[in-house]
């Protein structure tokens, strides 16, 4: 997404999707029914995908929708329905006031630390020129900037990942067979 064209619209959408993500995340944490919580989390993931597109990572945005919202959250919903937990329980599972205070204190401390970190300056030599990522996407497409390092510098890690995923798929197949027996 080009910064130069319509910068106001760009900024507006950036804030819009960020706010949607945060509000959905808050609703996700506070819902009692697991299914409602899962659907709010899906909403958060969709708006995060929109943020990725706005940050010149179109491929990651597509993968976010396909893998996170499409595959991982569906596995979560499967498990919720398999265990019959779809309805909110009679007693709430939110912890008491003491835990809420501890959680709030930890959250405040954490967010203060994270904000302090965002204030730190990085060396100018490391920073790419403004609009470099968008230029790269315009020249080589959205996939090539990721595929290049993935199959050169990070090839070993990629193969390891692939191996673990294949193993998981095999295990799942075996588990399904034993359950059916």
């Amino acid at each position: 997404m080009a910064h130069g064209t319509l910068p106001l619209l760009y900024t507006f959408h950036f804030y819009l999707f960020g706010l949607i993500a945060i509000v959905s995340a808050i609703l996700f944490v506070t819902r009692r029914s697991p299914v409602a919580a899962a659907l709010w989390l899906v909403n958060t993931m969709f708006s995060l995908a929109a943020l990725y597109v706005l940050l010149d990572a179109q491929f990651i945005g597509a993968i976010q929708v396909l893998v996170y919202a499409g595959a991982i959250m569906v596995v979560f919903l499967f498990v919720i329905m398999l265990l019959n937990l779809g309805r909110a329980e009679a007693t709430t599972d939110v912890r008491g006031l003491g835990w809420k205070l501890i959680g709030g204190a930890v959250a405040l401390g954490l967010i203060a630390q994270l904000f302090a970190l965002t204030r730190s300056k990085t060396a100018l030599a490391l920073t790419l020129p403004q609009g470099y990522a968008a230029q790269q996407v315009a020249q080589t497409g959205a996939v090539a900037p990721i595929a290049g390092p993935l199959f050169n510098e990070y090839l070993l890690a990629f193969e390891g990942d692939e191996h673990s995923l294949a193993r998981r798929r095999r295990r799942r197949g075996v588990a399904g067979k034993t359950a059916r027996r």
Partner: protein, 97 residues
């Protein structure tokens, strides 16, 4: 947009931590962990725009690990449910002695 993205990411991560601390439902705690992973992914993508595309490669790896982790973690939750008939973390106190 780097500062804004880092702001949203920090807030999302904090909401995830808060959820892990205040909820007792194991599945919702697990989903809060996924939310934290997503917040970190947003940081990676924002930094990838400013410092080079290697950050996006890391998002790729985080997603793979998250998918594998969801499969294993949910299998553990199913096993736990068959054992205890509940996913409420308060009732799972085997290690308390």
């Amino acid at each position: 947009m780097l500062a804004e993205a880092l702001f949203f990411s920090a807030v999302l991560f904090t909401i995830g931590v808060f959820g892990v601390l205040i909820r007792r439902n194991a599945i919702i705690v697990f989903m809060c962990v996924e939310l934290m992973l997503n917040a970190v992914n947003l940081t990676f993508v924002a930094f990838a725009q400013a410092y080079g595309a290697a950050g996006q490669v890391f998002v790729f790896f985080v997603m793979t690990v998250a998918a594998a982790e969801a499969a294993v973690g949910l299998a553990i939750i199913i096993a736990l449910f068959r054992h205890r008939q509940t996913v409420n973390l308060q009732n799972i106190n085997l290690l308390k002695g």
